[in-house]
C-alpha cells in the first residue's frame, strides 16, 4: 500500500495529479486507488491538496495515516504536509518553488524544476504532468504504461501532445536521477 500526498496551490493541477495517478493505478494497473481532495473557496491561489491511497486490496479507510510520498509544488504545501510523512518516506518537490528543510529520518528527497521544464515546453500549466512523470520514474507506484493510458482521458484533447511531452520530460529526468543515485551508491 502507498499513501501519497500532492500539495500545492489552486490552479497548479494538484487535484488533477491525484486523479491521473489514481486512474492509472485503478483502471490500468488493476489496483485499488482512492483519491480525496481538499481545497478552499478560492478557484486559484488558495492552499490545495489531494491524497491518494493505492493498494492491492480494496481501500477501506480512505485517508493518509502517514504519507509514504509527498509531492510538493508549493512551500506552504511542503510546510503543512512534511510532518505527516513517514520517516522512510520519499519527498518529490519542485526545486524552484520549495526549499526543503534539513531532512529527517530516512526521508529521501528528489528535486526537479518541474515548472521551469513546463515553461520550456510551452506552458507552465503542464508542470503537474512533468511532476507526474518524475513521480512515476522515482516511485514506481504506478506503471509508465498505465500513466500513458490514463493521460488522454484526463486532459483536453488539444493539449494531449503537450501533456505527453511534459510527462516524458519528467519521466526521463526521473530515470536519470535514479541512475545517478545508483551510480553514486556504487562508487
Amino acid at each position: 500500500m502507498a499513501e501519497i500526498r500532492f500539495a500545492g496551490y489552486g490552479g497548479q493541477g494538484i487535484i488533477r495529479s491525484g486523479i491521473i495517478a489514481g486512474r492509472a493505478a485503478s483502471i490500468y494497473d488493476n489496483k485499488h486507488a482512492t483519491m480525496s481532495q481538499s481545497f478552499g473557496p478560492e478557484a486559484r491561489g488558495g492552499a490545495c491538496s489531494s491524497q491518494l491511497v493505492v493498494s492491492e486490496s480494496k481501500v477501506l479507510y480512505p485517508y493518509i495515516t502517514e504519507s509514504d510520498i509527498l509531492v510538493a509544488m508549493s512551500q506552504a504545501g511542503y510546510d503543512k504536509f512534511e510532518p505527516e510523512m513517514s520517516e522512510q518516506g520519499r519527498l518529490l518537490y519542485d526545486e524552484d518553488l520549495v526549499k526543503p528543510k534539513q531532512s529527517r529520518g530516512h526521508i529521501a528527497a528528489h528535486a526537479i524544476p518541474a515548472t521551469r521544464f513546463a515553461e520550456e515546453l510551452g506552458h507552465k500549466i503542464v508542470a503537474n504532468v512533468v511532476m507526474l512523470g518524475f513521480f512515476t520514474a522515482i516511485t514506481g507506484v504506478v506503471s509508465y504504461d498505465a500513466m500513458k493510458k490514463a493521460l488522454p482521458e484526463s486532459v483536453p484533447e488539444k493539449a494531449l501532445e503537450l501533456n505527453l511531452k511534459a510527462f516524458d520530460r519528467g519521466y526521463n529526468y526521473g530515470l536519470e536521477a535514479v541512475k545517478r543515485q545508483g551510480d553514486s551508491q556504487k562508487n
Partner: protein, 413 residues
C-alpha cells in the same frame, strides 16, 4: 423492469461521488433535473449537463433552490423521473417543497452533498449535520426515505435505488451524502443495462371515471397519473380526500396524514438496508453512516488490535430508522459507539432504541473534517470499560475538543 440501454453509460470510470450520482440518475431513467449549482455538489450538475443530452435528459438551471424543487415536483406530475441536487443553504431553502412533495405523494430524488454548516458554514468541506433535517426539515408530519452511500460506486448504485424507492413508495427520497464521498474519486463500474433494475412509475390503468389519485393500494401507496393524460387530477398541499379535494375534518386529517407516515413505517422492513459485521458477539457496536463509516474502519481496527470485540453496523438507509434491529442488538452488546460529523443527531435514535439495555457513546465532530480514528478507538475502549448502565448518552471528549476548547465550554459562575 430493466434499465433502458440508451440511458446507461456502461463502462469503467475513475470518477468522484458527485459524478457517479449524476450517472446513476441517468441510468435510473431520470429525464429532468432542475437545480442551482452549489459547492460541493456542482460536479453532479456538471455530469448531468454533460451526459444528460446524450440520453435525452434535460437540465435547467433555475433562479434558486425554491424554483428548482418546485420545478421537479411539477415535472414528476408530468410523468418523468426527476431529481434536484444541492447542499447546505440550498437544502434549507428546499424544505417547504419537500413537505409539499410528501403531501402530494410525489416521487423525486434529492441529492444533498452535505457541507459544514450552519448557514454558509464551510462550503468546500464536509459535514453530516443535515441528517435530522432530512427527516423532519419540513413542517407537519410525514416520513420519507434517506440513504447514505459511502463510496463513488455506492453513489451510482444508491442513486438508482433512491429512484426505485421514490417510485415504489411515491415519496421524496434523500441521498444524504457528504463532501468527502461526493469529492472522493474511485473506480466506478457501470454495468450493462440488463444488470440494472429500475422501478417504473405506478401508473393507473383502469377506467378513467373510476380514478382516484389518492386512493391507496394494499401497500398504502396510491396509483399515479400523468397530468394531461385525460385522467381527473386535483393536486393541492391542503389535506385532501382520495379525489384530491381539500378536507378540514380532524378525523379525516388524522387518517390521511397517518397513511403518509405509515406507508413508510409499515413498509420499513422492505426499505431498510444495513451492513453489519461481527455484531452478533460484539461487546461494542460502532453505528455509523456515510463517510464516518469509512473512517470508523480504522478506529475499529485499532480497538480490535487491543483485543476488544467490536462489531460494526452501517446505516445505508438512515431513515426510516432500524428500530427493531437496534433494540435487538442493545440486548446483546454492552455499548453502541456513534461517530457522526455533528454534535449528536442519529445518536439520539440509537439511544431511543437502546432504551437502557446498552450504553450509548457519541463521538462528535464539529465538521470541516473527519474524525481522528484514534478518537473512535478510544471511545470504543471507554465504552467497554464502563460496567454499569449509564443514564442517557455519553459524549466522548475528542482530541480536537480537548485541544481547541479544553474539553468544552462552561458557564462562568
Amino acid at each position: 423492469m430493466k434499465a433502458n440501454p440508451k440511458d446507461v453509460l456502461t463502462g469503467i470510470y475513475y470518477i468522484d461521488g458527485d459524478v457517479a450520482s449524476g450517472y446513476g440518475a441517468l441510468a435510473a431513467g431520470c429525464k429532468f433535473v432542475a437545480g442551482y449549482p452549489i459547492t460541493p455538489s456542482t460536479e453532479a450538475f456538471e455530469a448531468v449537463c454533460r451526459r444528460g443530452p446524450q440520453v435525452g435528459a434535460v437540465f435547467i438551471q433555475m433562479e434558486d433552490e425554491l424554483g428548482s424543487i418546485s420545478a421537479i415536483v411539477g415535472a414528476a406530475w408530468s410523468g418523468v423521473k426527476t431529481m434536484t441536487i444541492t447542499s447546505g443553504p440550498g437544502y434549507s431553502l428546499m424544505q417547504e417543497c419537500i413537505g409539499f412533495g410528501a403531501m402530494l405523494e410525489t416521487p423525486f430524488v434529492l441529492l444533498n452533498i452535505q457541507r459544514g454548516g450552519p448557514s454558509t458554514g464551510v462550503p468546500t468541506k464536509t459535514g453530516q449535520a443535515d441528517i435530522m433535517q432530512s427527516r423532519w426539515g419540513s413542517h407537519g408530519d410525514y416520513e420519507l426515505i434517506a440513504l447514505a452511500p459511502d463510496s463513488p460506486q455506492e453513489m451510482f448504485d444508491y442513486t438508482i435505488k433512491a429512484f426505485n424507492l421514490a417510485e415504489k413508495y411515491r415519496c421524496p427520497v434523500m441521498i444524504m451524502s457528504d463532501e468527502c464521498v461526493g469529492h472522493m474519486t474511485e473506480k466506478v463500474v457501470i454495468p450493462e443495462a440488463d444488470g440494472i433494475e429500475v422501478e417504473p412509475r405506478r401508473l393507473y390503468t383502469g377506467p378513467a371515471e373510476d380514478y382516484l389519485p389518492f386512493k391507496p393500494e394494499p401497500d398504502l401507496v396510491p396509483k399515479m397519473a400523468k397530468a394531461g393524460d385525460g385522467l381527473r387530477l386535483y393536486i393541492t398541499g391542503l389535506v385532501h380526500d382520495e379525489r384530491g379535494y381539500p378536507v378540514e375534518d380532524s378525523a379525516y386529517k388524522s387518517k390521511y396524514v397517518r397513511r403518509l407516515v405509515d406507508k413508510i413505517r409499515l413498509n420499513r422492513n422492505n426499505i431498510i438496508e444495513l451492513r453489519e459485521e461481527g455484531t452478533d458477539d460484539a461487546d461494542v457496536i460502532v453505528v455509523s453512516y456515510g463517510i464516518s463509516s469509512r473512517v470508523a474502519v480504522k478506529g475499529v481496527e485499532i480497538a480490535r488490535e487491543k483485543g476488544i470485540k467490536v462489531g460494526t453496523l452501517r446505516l445505508v438507509t438512515v431513515w426510516p430508522f432500524p428500530d427493531d434491529r437496534m433494540s435487538e442488538l442493545a440486548k446483546k452488546a454492552r455499548a453502541f459507539v456513534v461517530p457522526e460529523i455533528n454534535y449528536g443527531q442519529v445518536v439520539y435514535d440509537v439511544a431511543r432504541c437502546a432504551h437502557g439495555d446498552a450504553n450509548v457513546v457519541l463521538v462528535p465532530h464539529g465538521g470541516a473534517g473527519v474524525h481522528n480514528p484514534n478518537d473512535i478507538a478510544d471511545a470504543i475502549e471507554m465504552a467497554v470499560r464502563e460496567e454499569k448502565k449509564i443514564e442517557g448518552l455519553v459524549e466522548f471528549k475528542t482530541r480536537l475538543q480537548k485541544s481547541v476548547f479544553e474539553g468544552g465550554f462552561k458557564l462562568k459562575e
